[in-house]
């Protein structure tokens, strides 16, 4: 699922969206310089058709970009702007200059599809932040010593990290399913399933990382909070796990499948990647 776009964009964010920059923007300083860098990179038009000046990529191709937004705690709505421009371009409408939320889509997309799009974008950012938080937690467990050895050598700590790795893996697969579309919009059920699973994973990973980090992880000064605060917000943003579980259940209820696997296989069959 990784690709050259993701690598280039990830490098850009590693350079320009450092924890220091994230903090400054959160304190109220202008995000304009960061946004200008992102716009100049051209990635914000990745989903706009080539005929309209974009890169004409499909949703599954931009997944690494959106994951990178989560991985770097990008404090500007890059993913939302990218998605809004894709929708507006296809509706033959002009898009506003600058960063926007999905509200900019207006009536160019039915509300239900907009919610699924929002859910998919959030799921991918959860997957990105989950990977970051897991890396930080492993590094901390290897470096922090107590009782004369690294805390990562204690089985109780190892098992917490293993559970976090499992959940990060589940969130990553949830994101891949959510973005498994050859167009610019996700499949509704796959986005619903993805957000349900990733939303739950977000909470487990945030809690586990704080358990591993101890008191230092609770401080404003330590970078962990930049990602765990977002993980917890993203769990709720664009619909909670229960909300999306109900969406999946209604689709099952409205269908005729006798068996769970048949429903799952049919919906997984919609994946394009």
């Amino acid at each position: 699922m990784d690709n050259e776009f993701g690598d280039a964009f990830g490098q850009l964010l590693a350079d320009r969206c450092t924890p220091e920059v994230v903090r400054r923007i959160e304190r109220g300083e202008s995000a304009e310089p960061l946004w200008r860098d992102l716009v100049e990179s051209g990635f914000v038009d990745a989903l706009v058709p080539e005929a309209q000046g974009g890169a004409g990529l499909s949703l599954h191709e931009v997944l690494p970009l959106v994951q990178a937004c989560g991985y770097h705690a990008l404090p500007v709505p890059f993913a939302e702007t990218m998605a809004a421009r894709a929708v507006l371009a296809r509706a033959g409408r002009r898009w506003p200059v600058g960063a926007v939320t999905l509200d900019a889509i207006g009536d160019a997309l039915p509300a239900e599809e907009r919610r699924a799009l929002h859910a998919a974008l959030t799921t991918a950012q959860i997957a990105g932040a989950a990977a970051r938080v897991l890396e930080m937690s492993i590094a901390h467990a290897q470096q922090r010593s107590q009782f004369g050895k690294p805390i990562g050598s204690f089985q109780a700590v190892q098992h917490q990290l293993s559970v976090m790795a499992e959940q990060a893996c589940a969130a990553r697969m949830a994101a891949q399913l959510s973005f498994a579309s050859a167009g610019h919009l996700p499949d509704h059920t796959l986005a619903a399933m993805g957000k349900c699973v990733a939303g739950e994973a977000a909470a487990v990973i945030a809690a586990g990382s704080h358990a591993v980090h101890g008191a230092i992880g609770i401080t404003a000064e330590f970078d962990l909070q930049l990602y765990t605060r977002r993980l917890l917000a993203w769990r709720v943003q664009a619909g909670s796990p229960s909300h999306w579980a109900m969406q999946v259940a209604r689709q099952w209820w409205g269908g005729t499948h006798d068996r769970a696997i048949d429903f799952t296989l049919e919906r997984l069959g919609a994946a394009q990647f």
């Binding site: 190892q158 098992h159 293993s162 990060a168 589940a170 209820w253 769970a260 696997i261």
Partner: protein, 383 residues
């Protein structure tokens, strides 16, 4: 971290196997009650296995020269997924099909392959896996059962336990000590194929808490094995067993153990005019988790198909999978309690009872949850 697990497509040729398998199973199992089908890959029926063998559905991935199907691991995934979905009684051939046959193909001599594989494919040679011993559970490297060289080959002494279906199998692939002692750990271990009809072998089934008897104690008292009993290289048993476990842990049977119960419950919900919101939310949650886990399982299968040995990935997906398998009976039991006056269909009640009772085994068999999490931690660089 585990970036290797990516969304993977099952090739259309392999996916095409689903319909004929499904049609066969729908007919073969139409009168089997759900609490029996819930035994899933624990259900033993030798004639059913032979019927599958007759259709070419055992040893699907083995070379045709040995009676196999010459198909890919993706085709086998589809086949296995359908067998599990239906709750087919596959235990008789399950272990040979999943790991013993590929193991013999990989590590055995051409003569061993020629001797065992065609009969495995016909459903005529059933295998069990001799790993655990009374003193060696999670600490498998401490096994004491010993094979000692003599003029006729090997003399086998010792004891295995928790060996699934030993009393109904023809052969065991046993992990034994061929040099050193229990303190030598991974060194000095080898694998031998034991014909379970030989003199000196005593097999006692152990009844489980549901009343079934699938696992056994197996005693070896001076059992004479031939020279050709050794599989692979002497002293290489630990490496061989580790590679075998990637097959044992990676399959879809680690996510579908509760699927018959799930289907019974969903069918029960369908009989209601308006299921509770809570029940629907639970159904949606389980379906979502299943979709993600199934995608992960296909992806591990893809890694195997590409020739990798995804030991850590398999451990990770197995732990996630068995967690879901155990969550399903617990959550369904709770959701059914929404209406204390509701009369449950007998089949659903019995299936729930069986799966709830056996569910603790899901995270014991094939490596405990704690062992798997230790393996994942090693994969993370923590050990």
């Amino acid at each position: 971290m585990f970036d290797s697990l990516s969304l993977t497509r099952i090739p259309a040729d392999d996916e095409a196997l689903r319909q004929p398998v499904r049609a066969f199973l729908d007919e073969a199992l139409k009168d089997v009650p759900p609490e029996v089908r819930a035994r899933s890959w624990g259900g033993f029926d030798a004639s059913f296995s032979r019927a599958l063998g007759a259709r070419g559905w055992i040893g699907l991935t083995l070379p045709k020269e040995y009676g196999g199907g010459g198909r890919s691991l993706y085709a086998r995934f589809v086949l296995v997924e359908e067998l599990l979905r239906a709750g087919a009684p596959v235990a008789a051939h399950w272990f040979a099909d999943r790991q013993s046959a590929p193991h013999i193909l990989k590590f055995g001599t051409p003569a061993q392959a020629q001797f065992y594989l065609p009969r495995i494919c016909r459903g005529e040679a059933f295998f069990c896996i001799g790993m655990s011993e009374p003193g060696s559970g999670s600490d498998l490297a401490s096994v004491r059962t010993r094979a000692t060289r003599n003029d006729n080959g090997w003399r086998l002494d010792g004891q295995k336990i928790w060996t699934t279906n030993a009393h109904r199998s023809n052969y065991m692939i046993a992990l034994v000590r061929t040099s050193g002692d229990a303190g030598s750990r991974q060194k000095g271990l080898s694998q031998v194929i034991v014909d379970l009809s030989l003199p000196g072998i005593t097999i006692r089934p152990i009844t489980d808490l549901t009343g079934d008897a699938h696992f056994c104690e197996v005693f070896f008292d001076g059992v004479q094995l031939g020279d050709d009993a050794l599989i692979g290289a002497e002293g290489d048993g630990w490496n061989q067993v580790t590679s075998e476990l990637a097959y044992e842990r990676s399959g879809p049977e680690r996510i579908y153990s509760s699927v018959v119960l799930l289907d019974e419950w969903l069918a029960y919900l369908r009989t209601q005019r308006a299921p509770s919101e809570r029940s629907l939310a639970l159904a949606g949650r389980v379906l979502s988790l299943s979709a993600v886990l199934r995608s992960l399982s296909v992806s591990v299968n893809g890694r195997l198909a590409e020739g990798h040995s995804p030991v850590v990935e398999a451990a990770l997906v197995k732990d996630l999978g068995t967690t879901l398998e155990q969550f399903i009976p617990e959550a369904i039991a709770d959701a059914l309690g929404d209406d204390p006056d509701a009369a449950l269909p007998d089949g659903l009640a019995r299936t729930l009872q069986y799966v709830s009772q056996i569910a603790p085994a899901f995270s014991l068999r094939g490596g405990t949850r704690e062992v798997l999490r230790g393996m994942i931690a090693r994969g993370l660089g923590l050990r």
